[in-house]
Symmetry: D3
Subunit: 243 residues, 6 copies
């Protein structure tokens, strides 16, 4: 899959990312030596949603009143970030984990939906979480807070590398969310990671079946070489069934 921010996620990769747990994706990246991809401490505003999209980034810095006219006249940087959203993108906001003010509210979120965005992730707070919860788009945040961003923040640039909830996000990264939270999949690794994650989920499905049948985990999770033929047979049969 291409690293280009605008490039599309391939259909096969998308399907795999939509069905893999964020925990499986994070573990797959971890095995490849990419340790820090899971955003700690963010929760979805409502349960049961999945999110897969490319990152569009927005960076906030602490408000400095003498700079407001330069950086945040009539919300311009934030508005520009929203307006530049492409279909299939996720807006990812770096608010330095500071939850003492909101970073986005429902009108901007609806505009994002209108433009085809598929999710919003902020490591700060959202305003009016109840209204956001009613929208048909996953939103992940650390907290809710009533104040507008001006209480603490100033949007300063967009489409630059940011830190969000302790994870570096570059424009175009694949952002995947489920009930556990949000994981960042590097675009250049997305195809491989999605394929490995699918394989891992099969292995865990088989392992779970074995354990639910009363076996110990030793041998079937992780699968030892001795048990692998058995798993392969199961997987072949499973694939036949589902085709």
């Amino acid at each position: 899959m291409s690293d280009e921010p605008g490039a599309d996620i391939g259909a096969e990769t998308r399907r795999r990312l939509e069905s893999a747990a964020t925990a499986t994706l994070a573990a797959t990246l971890q095995k490849r030596g990419v340790r820090t991809t899971f955003m700690a401490g963010l929760a979805p505003l409502k349960p049961g949603q999945r999110m897969v999209g490319r990152a569009r980034t927005l960076r906030f810095v602490p408000i400095r009143e003498d700079l407001v006219e330069t950086y945040a006249p009539r919300l311009n940087t934030q508005r520009a970030a929203i307006e530049s959203l492409q279909p299939g993108e996720v807006l990812v906001i770096d608010a330095r984990n500071d939850t003492e003010a909101g970073t986005i509210g429902d009108i901007f979120a609806v505009r994002a939906i209108e433009l085809g965005a598929v999710g919003i992730v902020t490591d700060g707070a959202v305003r009016d979480a109840a209204a956001l919860r009613r929208l048909d788009m996953p939103v992940y945040a650390r907290a809710s807070h009533g104040a507008t961003f001006r209480r603490m923040h100033m949007p300063v640039d967009q489409q630059v590398p940011i830190a969000c909830a302790g994870v570096t996000v570059v424009p175009g990264d694949v952002i995947v969310g489920d009930e556990d939270g949000v994981v960042v999949v590097p675009a250049g690794l997305a195809d491989e990671v999605a394929a490995e994650a699918e394989q891992q989920e099969f292995e865990e499905e088989w392992g779970m079946e074995r354990v639910a049948a009363g076996e110990t985990t030793d041998g079937c999770f992780p699968i030892t070489p001795a048990r692998r033929p058995e798993f392969e047979a199961w997987l072949a049969a499973r694939r036949e069934r589902s085709s």
Copy 2:
């Protein structure tokens, strides 16, 4: 509206506060230069409730065993605060954001309901959250903890200015809560703030309609002078409809 702790919230103001989001109220106060009114990190024990009432304050300090007989004989200060609750009041507890012990439990909460209280807010923990959740009164807290307050706290005085979740609360302040959290509206500003918040909610309702119809936010959120006549016309029509 009067600053007097006992004075009633006017009917019009109450109606407006009951329908305004805490986020809108906090933003309205922010515009007037009152920056710190939203209590960060508190959550309602159950969703879907609204709370509007005047503050009755209770202040805890760290327990000091040599002082217990002076300040907390048989719960007296806390009990006195509960017993002095007037109809329409919200009990607001300063527990220094310390969640290592409870600050109130269900029997005192039921007594508060009996006396006409309309809510409880603590920046510490509650005991037996499950029991409190069954009551018909909003309760906001930072956490739940099984220990009684004596593990960490000692109630020391009531009806004095306190800090609750980072916000100063003085007796008689108007305390408003929704799903997002709790905002403190100064009594002397309540009428004006409620009116402005209602107007702001109309503006956001119109802005949302425009954005949901596919417009960009630029012009309609916030409303620019050029678009204001359009909004005014919409508002007049809306008011006609609802009257």
Copy 3:
């Protein structure tokens, strides 16, 4: 009740522990001078479950890559802790309150269920909370995180005294959980504490009735000597009814 890790919780004590609130148990222990028994900051993955069981402990330390082969070859210490679970036990994990990686996932949890375990408590994060939520066993954790434990942790020993969420747990302690959280009841005190907690719950039930009937809490919570005969009569009647 015996201190022996394997020994069973008596039927009467078990019945009492299953119906007492963790808040009541913590308060009962507090009165006896045992101050720190309630695990702060842990939440059940799903509401409405009760947990009563004996502790089996597992201790994690920070990962040190040079030691992985000694302490965590192919998950051995963690696996050994799981495999040694006895019916009626709760697995309690000391992860130093570090939520930057998971500490347990669904396959090991299912294995624990198969072995008769009745709960899992970790002061770190769980992986794949959604999957764990579907299981028929209470799980308490501080957070969820996608990474496997190797990102931060290394299991180092089991069945030793540990700290979990700020509370010391020794193997065989009675671990009780409800919607509020988790309390540790020392095995040697379990019978007495369970009996006292039941009595306390009766006192609070009566107190609640009195307060709901419009009385002040003064006299009935806590019960003063003057009101005790009244309570005793109520209790006798109540017991008659329920027998």
Copy 4:
């Protein structure tokens, strides 16, 4: 010693408090069941000073701009607290452990010295620590910060019980400071605690002599009944020497 805020500390008690380590005083209070007397996290601005005085308290709450005219017109509450300082008193400031603004600076500190104050303790920050360090009075703080208190705080009342660095302080408490930090000695216990602390320091002096001479600590720290006669003889000799 009297509980009266104005009452003097007796000469003998003062002498003992001036030579006892804060660690010894805290331990002595701990043995009597008063657990929380040592202020955690405060440091003296310069080393080598001792502080013994009665507490005068000042309480800050978070700034609320609509209340500034009521509570902090031209610094009035803070100024009043300073002006009411009596000779031998220590000003103790409750700033909720918030270090995001100063709470006192050098001019007010010099005024305090002029009035006979013997120390300043704040659980927030001081402004211009370098200037304060040049004064001849111990100052304890959590940090230094350039902003004036108005950035975060509003002084709201004085001579009420406060929390300072996690310890409750009531007006008139005896405040003792050394290089380790600050301990609060309840006025009513000061005579006894001072005497016990002196005795404890003798015991530790003897224990240290024994250990420095190559003995194990077992028997001489703490002193066992078997070794007590030996200690008593040493103490009698020591007292003779120093008289």
Copy 5:
């Protein structure tokens, strides 16, 4: 004074900034409505130094192993920031307040000195603080840590607006440091702020003289209109003396 990053600080302004306390500068900015200019929690590695220079910024994000080749090949971004230092500049590093790895060490610091830099400020940790302490250049940091930045960080861009210790810094800002810490003076306000700060220091010097002479602070700190003529006379005399 010009906003241009390269432009020089005027001699008069420089003289004033070198003699004003950071506390005075922060307070002067606060009065003008710029609230957040003092970096909280940073300390100079050694006492007794003053720092005044223009900011050159360097931004770190969390390390992501798949991006290291892009953003940090052989230290390139950090090296480039160092190499681009102009005489009179202060290197200001945004490390997200994360102290779990170093952000700069002594060789790069010596190179900065060679290039004419006048200070280094990081909101993370430094490596080998002892070596840095021996250099003739002020260094401000939150901590020291032995690990190289790769343990946690990845330098990602330079000369962009950053957050450092909670304060936004833009390239060219005037960075002033003393024993208390570091304050950011916006370039466009530097001349005025320096002048006002000098005036404020005169007022405080007079106030201090008055208070040291036994007066109350009321009237002389802050100076009331009634006392201003007295101050003005003192100031005129003082200026005559020092000219």
Copy 6:
């Protein structure tokens, strides 16, 4: 070098460890993939000391009053750990980073010195830091606190793997301290790490010379292949000089 706890550190390795900066040692381990070896947030009680010794570990858990008689009768576990100290050992205490009570005081420290211990490291607080500062042995701690350990802690076992300031320490690890803090060198890697660190320090010495002579860091830090011959010649000359 042997992994055996009692085994001695070879003379050559000791000499190298005594002259290498902890930052160099941490970086050397980092390069070998051992990421977490530097104890964050601990400071030496006094500057200018070096510490090299083998770890003897002591583990504290939160106090639980019902267990005190089992685990901490008359200080036994702590005393046993002290008494078992061998010459050349460093006592390393796991106090869960909790600084709300002391973990060791001066009498036990003097006993440690008598037994030949060469340092004490605790991730909690020490009692009576002033007294400890007067001893001729390095002590590293997070804070000082007056209370005895019983306020928060209970020593529970010794010579087991522990976490200290975020780093796993196993008995026999080589513990090295300087002004920056403390690094843990695995015994089995000590010889190699010491040799590599010495080489690294030579490289940095040469790099520093080059930079101090006006060169850019590019090429000489880290040393590129093109410059390596130059460095090797310098190193040979340097070795000749010092032999």
